[in-house]
Symmetry: C2
Subunit: 228 residues, 2 copies
DNA sequence: ATTAAAGTTTAACTTAGATCAAACTTTCAG
DNA sequence: CTGAAAGTTTGATCTAAGTTAAACTTTAAT
């Protein structure tokens, strides 16, 4: 799913390449005017929203090749936060210009539709996980998903980084942080995975996959759709 | 958020209006080639997917003015089912043509982007609900959400239809059907709502809202985006 | 290098909601 | 209309995971 060279040229005119952000920096915040969507070139972000009563809900973790900010299209305002979990490089893509240039970059527009569709599908998977999986299955699924995404669509990495805190994992998965800690600890003790600082190694992929259980995939997603 | 008359003319050329489907009929099924998205003119649908192990996960309930099938854009294949919960009228919109005609119906394309963005935002709300709300809060939130949607963006209906079974509600909310039955029963006993067959009446909106608790809304969604 | 703050682990205890079971009610096909 | 099937309610019991608490480890600022 590549763009043509003329599309890439069009892209070059409008995107602001490789802006660097540090851990803890926000790409955008709730209530800000929606102007750009952001392609992640390297690094790791989380997106989250805050409920009226001040509770944080993490809505996604995002790594290289993925897009954040799409939630702003509808209202013209960002409806949550995107924040770097480590030093990251991002491309700012002005949505307005993307929209205007559409005839010259049809492929790009179609790509964007696919990315949004993919996000909707991903959310269906997420519902299955949050509604029907127990804590062990959630953790196993989460680890495998992260592993596959860090491999950028080519299989899955047996060694990958887990850059978020237990608290963030727990919030995303709808578990208590102690539960996450306990289960990750159990997986290590059983030598299904090992952990060194933020680095995870999957030692028994078969067992971890078994643990993860059911998913909704009709056919596997294969290559990740990318914008730039 | 209306379409111009020329946009509506373009639309007239491509959409298949008012196809009628009966309760239990499927609009599309998993694995079928993605050809159309569907605008619901009247009635009520549910969308769901089936996990490898055969478990059903309801991914949404959809009523008049809403769109189903967007999940198919990415892979070119429908990734789940959409099924009528009652006799419904739907518009079939060929995605291919929609895509080709884009220059003449820019507004329509933008509308579609907004609808997809809205769906992503809605999923963030859903995560907050599934992760942080207890069973009482889930039921109250669900009822209020349905009430608001049946009012088509103008406030919320104090009287509305609850067309799905307890089993479907439970599946969607990640609860056991007995829990749903018990909590709905409790709300009726406390006279916060009353139920006559499939008709729900909210008798104490303040208390129900209180019960529903926190949401992520930055500003209220106002009018629902519609395609046709 | 020091140390305060942030993050993690572990254990004991509690509870919301699942599961099991059984009666009751509504729906709808013939 | 009739009866079987589908859906709902209600009660008793059980358990996965939350909560509370406290020690331990890592991180990062000075």
């Amino acid at each position: 799913m590549m763009l043509s060279s003329s599309e890439i040229e069009s892209l070059d005119d409008i995107i602001q390449r490789n802006k660097s952000i540090e851990k803890g920096d926000k790409v955008y915040s709730v209530g800000e005017k929606f102007t750009h969507i952001y392609a992640i070139r390297s690094g790791f972000l989380k997106s989250y929203c805050i409920s009226e009563s001040g509770e944080e809900q993490i809505t996604g973790f995002h790594l290289a090749g993925e897009i954040v900010g799409l939630e702003g299209i509808n209202t013209g305002v960002y409806l949550g936060f995107a924040e770097a979990l480590e030093t990251s490089q991002i491309c700012a893509i002005p949505y307005e210009k993307l929209d205007k240039l559409n005839s010259s970059i049809d492929g790009l527009r179609q790509q964007l539709f696919k990315i949004m569709s993919q996000e909707i599908t991903h959310n269906h998977e997420l519902m299955l996980m949050l509604n029907q999986k127990n804590a062990d299955e959630k953790i196993a699924t989460f680890l495998l998903n992260l592993s596959a995404r860090e491999a950028l669509g080519k299989g899955l990495n047996l060694k990958f980084v887990l850059p978020m805190t237990r608290t963030d994992m727990a919030n995303y998965l709808g578990l208590a942080l102690e539960t996450v800690s306990r289960i990750v600890g159990k997986l290590v003790k059983k030598e299904i995975i090992s952990i060194d600082h933020k680095m995870v190694t999957i030692k028994q992929l078969d067992i971890l996959s078994e643990l993860a259980g059911a998913s909704c995939h009709f056919s596997h997603p294969g290559e990740q759709n990318k914008l730039a």
